[in-house]
């Protein structure tokens, strides 16, 4: 046996580096008070413990650095870890924070849209849903006519139209808008490649999570929405707004 890593010509390589993109919650800190941060984080987690458990998290320091000079990043990371988050990045910090973060093994994310390393995903690995048209066509609208079941994921490079239900435990994502004409019980993420102008339209909103361009609401935030009434969701000044149609 040769030790040449390329010798297994007939087989798949043991590894592939693929570009991908994820939606990661962002923790925006407005005040540098470690106790308060810990308390309020505990409160948030208590509202949806399973949802947040071991969830990755990026900490946004943009506001803090304007009022605080000596930030203890290690203490911050310890707090979020204590609440079962996994810190995977900071953003909006000063150069000294970036250095400190890197020393702690935490990467630095860029804040501005244009600098954001936003590689276009080649192909998202999902429980494939039988599809009616090629997945690779950019900006194509994808139409799904059958129910999307728990455990399934659907990704559309353009708009996504679902004529059936979206079950709890499933996830639909689109780079553009999302329309759901059945009951939406799963997760729906629109504008996933950074399109803050995208919207979600839905005839019966009972979602586990809805998100536009990474700004999201969880089911607990939707308690005031009457089920069965058509709604649209869009971003207004960085807030996710829900309006009856």
């Amino acid at each position: 046996m040769s030790s040449n890593p390329h010798n297994a010509t007939s087989q798949r390589p043991v590894l592939e580096l693929k570009s991908s993109s994820f939606t990661v919650p962002l923790l925006v800190l407005n005040k540098y008070d470690l106790h308060l941060i810990s308390d309020q984080l505990a409160f948030k987690v208590q509202q949806a413990p399973e949802f947040f458990k071991n969830s990755p998290l990026i900490i946004d320091l943009n506001i803090l650095v304007k009022t605080t000079t000596d930030l203890d990043l290690k203490a911050l990371f310890d707090i979020v870890r204590k609440h079962k988050f996994i810190p995977v990045g900071i953003r909006g910090g000063k150069p000294e924070h970036n250095t400190a973060a890197n020393e702690l093994g935490i990467p630095v994310q860029s804040t501005t849209q244009t600098n954001r390393p936003a590689p276009k995903p080649q192909k998202i690995e999902t429980t494939p849903v039988a599809e009616q048209q090629s997945d690779n066509e950019k900006n194509q609208t994808k139409i799904i006519t059958h129910p999307i079941r728990s455990g399934q994921r659907v990704y559309a490079h353009g708009d996504l139209i679902v004529l059936s239900q979206v079950s709890a435990g499933s996830e639909i994502m689109a780079e553009g808008n999302i329309h759901v004409y059945g009951t939406l019980r799963g997760r729906a993420l629109a504008g996933v490649q950074g399109n803050s102008g995208s919207r979600i339209f839905c005839s019966n909103l009972q979602a586990e999570l809805v998100s536009i361009d990474g700004i999201y609401k969880i089911n607990d935030d939707l308690n005031d929405i009457s089920p069965g009434k058509p709604v649209q969701l869009f971003l207004k000044e960085q807030n996710l707004v829900i309006e009856y149609l």
């Binding site: 429980t127 494939p128 849903v129 039988a130 059958h146 129910p147 999307i148 079941r149 728990s150 455990g151 399934q152 059936s164 239900q165 079950s167 709890a168 435990g169 499933s170 059945g182 009951t183 019980r185």
Partner: protein
Amino acid sequence: MARIIVVTSGKGGVGKTTTSAAIAMGLAKRGHKTAVIDFDVGLRNLDLIMGCERRVVYDFINVINEEASLNQALIKDKRCNQLYILPASQTRDKDALTLEGVGKVLDELSKTFKYIVCDSPAGIEKGAHLAMYYADDAFVVTNPEVASVRDSDRMLGILSSKSRRAEQGKDPIKEYLLLSRYSPKRVNLGEMLSVDDVQEILSLHLLGVIPESQSVLNASNSGTPVILDEQSDAGKAYNDIVARYLGEDVPHRFINEEKKGLFSKLFGSK
């Protein structure tokens, strides 16, 4: 060409084996040559429910490994000459089942049988995947409680994406809902989901509701598929299900609480 039916659920203990035995017997009794296969390697339950556990010589794995022929392994039912049972192995581990091996056995059975009923193990792992992979129809057995409904939904996702039909771009597997262990009384008390609640979540074609019934326990203790107990509510429910599956228009029953007649009110009979 045989029609391959998988009886599946995701969640364990919901009544898959009870259902497999009943519908296989029901189809056979109507004159269709039927084989029922136990995919639950390591547990071997079906032969007990069918009452043929003392006649097992060879099993499904022996056939896959070509240690026995299909004819040697198939057990002919003593009550109905159109029904054959292919038991699972109690001693082998689950890895003995392979996609190719299962395909080969199903192909061979397809030549002479009209229906092949596959009793799936619980879960969504390999055993369950192999049981559903070649299916034409899926009987999704669900109990009226949230965890079971959720698991069925998940199984439906797998049926629509990971079956041979999905992979070859053929017509999808036909999916049917069998709501089992249903108790209208407990539904009315708010302790169980109703048929409508379940349908709201799954939106599936309802093949039938099987009531919670002591007759199921009695039947499995005596090794008789419950469908042969024609007086029992569960037996009737399974008979209806087989009839509907074969295209007969049979009204649904066992959905609403039975109104006690004056006679039984006065004399307290069951």
